[in-house]
């Protein structure tokens, strides 16, 4: 329904999609690009790309959110490369990234995020480490492997185990 709406250039559907997913996508951008002004530009570009390139989305290759996430994340990563942003900008302090969320005046989401962090504590240390870096600190798997000298294959299997474990903890599926 959403996909058909976007493809038929229905702006009300884009309105809905934006309201529903902009928060998640913005947080992804923010985790890659720490500067809010640039992050907002990237988010805007991402939604325009989603709107303009919707015909290139193939539902047999994954869900709409995954596609939007990839579009957005790739734009964000491209931007860091073009600006030659230093990876040192990524903060290693988990508390700091939570503070960022606090600052956004989104109490409801903040509670959810804190709840998630509580759940992350139940993961084995090496799995939590991977999830924190990939989803909270905006690392790619390759960056994580390079920076911490972990084989890429290990990063992948740990990612898998962590998401699987989280599924159990959160009682999803």
């Amino acid at each position: 329904m959403i996909i058909a709406g976007l493809r038929s250039r229905d702006q009300s559907v884009l309105d809905y999609v934006y309201d529903h997913y902009s928060g998640a996508l913005y947080s992804v951008v923010l985790r890659v690009i720490r500067e809010e002004d640039i992050a907002q530009e990237v988010l805007q570009d991402a939604f325009l790309k989603i709107w303009n390139k919707i015909d290139s989305y193939d539902p047999s290759k994954g869900k709409l959110f995954t596609w939007m996430l990839n579009v957005t994340r790739n734009l964000a990563i491209d931007r860091t490369r073009s600006k030659e942003m230093s990876k040192t900008k990524k903060t290693d302090d988990l508390a700091l990234s939570v503070n960022r969320i606090d600052n956004q005046e989104h109490i409801e989401l903040q509670v959810e995020a804190i709840g998630l962090l509580e759940n992350l504590k139940q993961l084995p240390e090496e799995q939590r480490f991977v999830i924190e870096h990939l989803y909270l600190k905006g690392y790619t798997q390759s960056e994580l492997a390079d920076e911490f000298n972990i084989p890429l294959g290990t990063v992948k299997t740990r990612t898998r185990l962590a998401l699987k474990e989280l599924r159990t903890i959160l009682k999803i599926n």
Partner: protein, 262 residues
């Protein structure tokens, strides 16, 4: 291919994250088409990832949405979004008001239309009534003109029939043309009868009563009766059962008069 081994490698999670190279992506997509287990597993991973990222959501400032929505406007102009958004809201409000206004007008016009339709029907009925009245008056006028012609016609003989002892107050006249055999009756004063009875006019010709037709007590003007043969000497009226009889009931005679010899 060992599906479980493939899944355990974490390649699907990397795919969902968007961390695979282009070549690796194509490979995964090819396998997804081929193996339903991979599609099912990917779907679970995607759901988990979405849940994770949704719970970490940070709302961007509303200006970003305004810019996005303006940029996708078909004839989007490079105007500051805030004013354009306000204008858009005014336009929406205006169109709602316009729609309401049009709705009211449509209702109002329909109401007026129905009213005019009713008024028109009334006028049509009235004019039909007037036409009927006119026709009725016209008929009466024709009849009066005709009556007047009969009364003034010297070839008609007027026979006054006076009340008998049965009805001393009654009075009626006959206008009779011996040549054309036409007979007209005119009531001056005769009481109304019940529904079962009628008056019957008789002409006495050669000593015998001849039926000249029946009439009711409430007729006005001249009433055309049956033609009779010539030679009538007397006219008389009796009360008979409705429709009349072949011979008069003499006991009920109301009026009678002799033809005066001229």
């Amino acid at each position: 291919m060992n599906i479980q081994e493939y899944i355990s490698s974490g390649v699907l999670e990397a795919y969902a994250l968007g961390d695979l190279s282009a070549v690796e992506r194509v490979e995964v997509e090819k396998n997804l088409i081929q193996y339903v287990e991979l599609r099912e597993e990917l779907s679970k991973i995607e759901d988990m990832q979405e849940t994770l990222l949704m719970s970490l959501a940070v709302m961007p400032p509303s200006s970003v949405k305004a810019k996005v929505m303006q940029a996708v406007q078909p004839q989007g102009k490079a105007v500051a979004m805030d004013t354009s958004l306000i204008r858009w809201k005014y336009a929406a409000a205006a169109s709602v008001i316009l729609a309401l206004g049009l709705g009211y007008l449509a209702y109002d016009y329909r109401d007026k239309w129905i009213h005019s339709q009713v008024a028109l029907n009334e006028l049509i009925t009235q004019s039909q009534q007037v036409a009927q009245d006119y026709n009725r008056v016209n008929l009466r006028l024709d009849k009066m003109e005709n009556d007047l012609k009969v009364i003034n016609d010297p070839s008609f003989t007027k026979v006054v029939m006076k009340g008998t002892p049965n009805a001393p107050q009654s009075l009626a006249s006959v206008y009779w043309n011996d040549r054309t055999r036409e007979v007209y009756l005119s009531i001056q004063n005769m009481r109304e009868l019940s529904q079962e009875n009628q008056y019957q006019l008789w002409a006495i010709i050669d000593g015998k009563p001849v039926d000249a037709g029946v009439f009711d007590g409430n007729v006005t003007g001249l009433v055309r009766m049956k033609d009779i043969t010539s030679g009538a000497v007397t006219f008389a009226v009796t009360i008979e059962p409705r429709g009349g009889k072949s011979s008069p009931t003499l006991q009920t005679m109301q009026v009678a008069g002799n033809v005066s010899k001229s």
